[in-house]
């Protein structure tokens, strides 16, 4: 049982404030993804939880125990590193068994647990090899097996799939999710890849400039981004934004079109996902600039009143650059942001 609580954690490197007052609770056995661009503080936060870095202020609790003054090995955690950190001078067997040997477990138990985890990760035939004789994917599996063999309460993963090629990444993503779900451990997973975050997480914490902007389920983060940053970061292509001017109570003028929206006295930003647009008789008038057929869909980059705007349409539509389109936004998918605070307005 390991719920993780992060209370008012801040981290400063010299004059650089890497983390500002982070508060986050991760439930027991939850799969939490820390998502953000490089430099947003997600790895720093993970390292603070691991004990490889000390927070300037704040507290970290794991399983009801305050761990700030505990060494990494006493926190009940295991970690998978970005470059795997599979020891090159040890065999796969000794790599997986490294932590168990450090705990001075008897030989037969080490053997038993190493073999069991190796089987789980499908590397039982590689136990006698050295890391130099493995492919990137196999090394990745060894790194995960080494963490699992510890039977930890919490597994921390720092961009574990970022060094794999696209196909392998997809395969490992599904496998890792399955293995971790079966292991009943709490997992914290750092990534900058939103597809990884969306597909694996129970909950995503989107981080930006040392702060958690939103912590919610993947679909919530996608559908109801709490801030403009989240809306622009999640989704490929990201959300479209257009300026909206008040046109009476609850009415807004967006690119010459009047739509229903929240009641607010000041101008807002209108936002809509590219796939939430339908060609219709009335709607936003757009001029197609670039048409990219993606097989399943057609990605159209167009211009709406001088702003760039993307739409994802059905692939059997025929659109050429220069065409005029009329796109109707789906009413229940329209979102609004305050341009001053950048936060969502309901």
């Amino acid at each position: 049982m390991a719920q993780i609580e992060i209370k008012n954690v801040a981290k400063r490197f010299g004059t650089y404030q890497a983390l500002h007052d982070i508060n986050l609770t991760i439930q027991d056995q939850e799969f939490m993804v820390l998502l953000g661009a490089s430099g947003c503080g997600k790895t720093t936060l993970l390292r603070i939880i691991a004990g490889l870095e000390t927070a300037t202020t704040g507290e970290v609790w794991i399983g009801g125990r305050r761990v700030d003054d505990l060494a990494p090995k006493d926190r009940g955690i295991a970690m998978v590193f970005q470059n795997y950190a599979v020891f090159p001078h040890l065999t796969v067997f000794e790599n997986i068994g490294f932590g168990l040997r450090m705990q001075k477990l008897p030989n037969d138990e080490v053997k038993d647990r190493v073999e069991r985890t190796a089987e789980l990760m499908h590397i039982e035939q590689l136990l006698k090899r050295y890391s130099g004789e493995l492919s990137g994917g196999q090394r990745q599996r060894v790194a995960v097996a080494r963490a699992l063999a510890m039977e930890p309460d919490v597994i921390l993963m720092d961009e574990p799939l970022s060094n794999l090629d696209a196909l392998l990444r997809m395969e490992m993503r599904a496998e890792l999710k399955g293995v971790l779900a079966a292991s009943n451990t709490t997992a914290i997973y750092v990534t900058h890849d939103q597809v990884e975050a969306m597909s694996m997480a129970d909950r995503i914490s989107v981080m930006h400039q040392g702060e958690i902007v939103q912590a919610a389920s993947p679909i919530e983060v996608y559908r109801n981004p709490a801030a403009e940053f989240v809306a622009g970061f999640i989704g490929n292509p990201p959300m479209n934004f257009l300026p909206a001017a008040p046109a009476g109570d609850g009415k807004w003028s967006v690119a010459g079109q009047v739509v229903d929206g929240p009641s607010s006295g000041k101008p807002l930003k209108f936002a809509i996902r590219p796939e939430d647009m339908r060609p219709a008789d009335t709607g936003l008038t757009a001029t197609a600039k670039v048409v990219e057929p993606l097989g399943a869909h057609l990605l159209i980059t167009c211009e709406v009143q001088g702003s760039m705007f993307r739409a994802v349409l059905d692939s059997d539509m025929s659109v050429k650059p220069g065409d005029q389109l009329t796109l109707a936004p789906q009413p229940d998918r329209m979102r609004w942001f305050d341009p001053d605070t950048t936060l969502a307005v309901a």
Binding site: L52, I77, M79, N83, F87, H89, G99, M102
Partner: protein, 281 residues
Amino acid sequence: MNARLLPYVLILPVTLFLCLFFLYPFVLVSKQAFSTGAGFTLDNFREVTGYWKFPITMRNTLLLAAAVVPIQLALALLMATMVNRMKKGRDLVLYVWTIPLGISDLAAGIIWLAIFEQSGFLNSMMNGLGIVDKPVNLLTFQNPGIVFLAIMLAEIWRATAIMLVILVAGIGLIPKEYYEAAEVFGASPWKRFLRITLPLLRPSLQTALVLRVILAFEIFAVVAALGGTLFPVLMGETYAYQFDLLNSGAAAALALIILAISIAFTLIILRVLRVPKGATI
């Protein structure tokens, strides 16, 4: 220029240089060692190994190497680890620690002689503190232990830095992630040193030890300055054969014996510190 030939052309000058100034003299020395004027003979070897001083010089040389090299290795490892942890002033500390490398071994011997001799710093200090009432002659045949200790100290002071620089470079190459992984998986600082640093440092340890052991068997000037004839070593005997006894055949034979010992120890070191087959370090 043909791209396949180019590498060979480029290494040609240095190869020629080594052949002319190393291989050729080496062949000449070997010829001298295995002849006494006419035909092949082992007489020179019989002469030097049969001489009563030979076992003593051999024992002294090996003893000195056995006493000095492990201490230097431990010190160099400790110093390299400390330097590697430093964030500021690392280069300055390294420069200071490697100063003795810039001093010739004879000069190093004389510096320590200035400390240990009868009118030296050590005697002045002991006298000033009232430990002795008049300066004592420490480096005499009555005090073989002190002579040995003085040579040891001088050697450690003089030649630890050569191992240090090699090990510092080697430790710097070990990725930080290995240490972090070891720490997360429960290795104490000492275990990290034993299980990560030492094994991953094997290539540098090989180089440092081979270099240092060979130099230890070639010890000459420091011993000459501090021990004179009190502590005969192999290289000193070689010098005596060549320049005092004018027996260049015997000198050549002894030089080859030192070479053989050096090669033997080099092979042992390479064997003991070999990287397991398949492992890439």
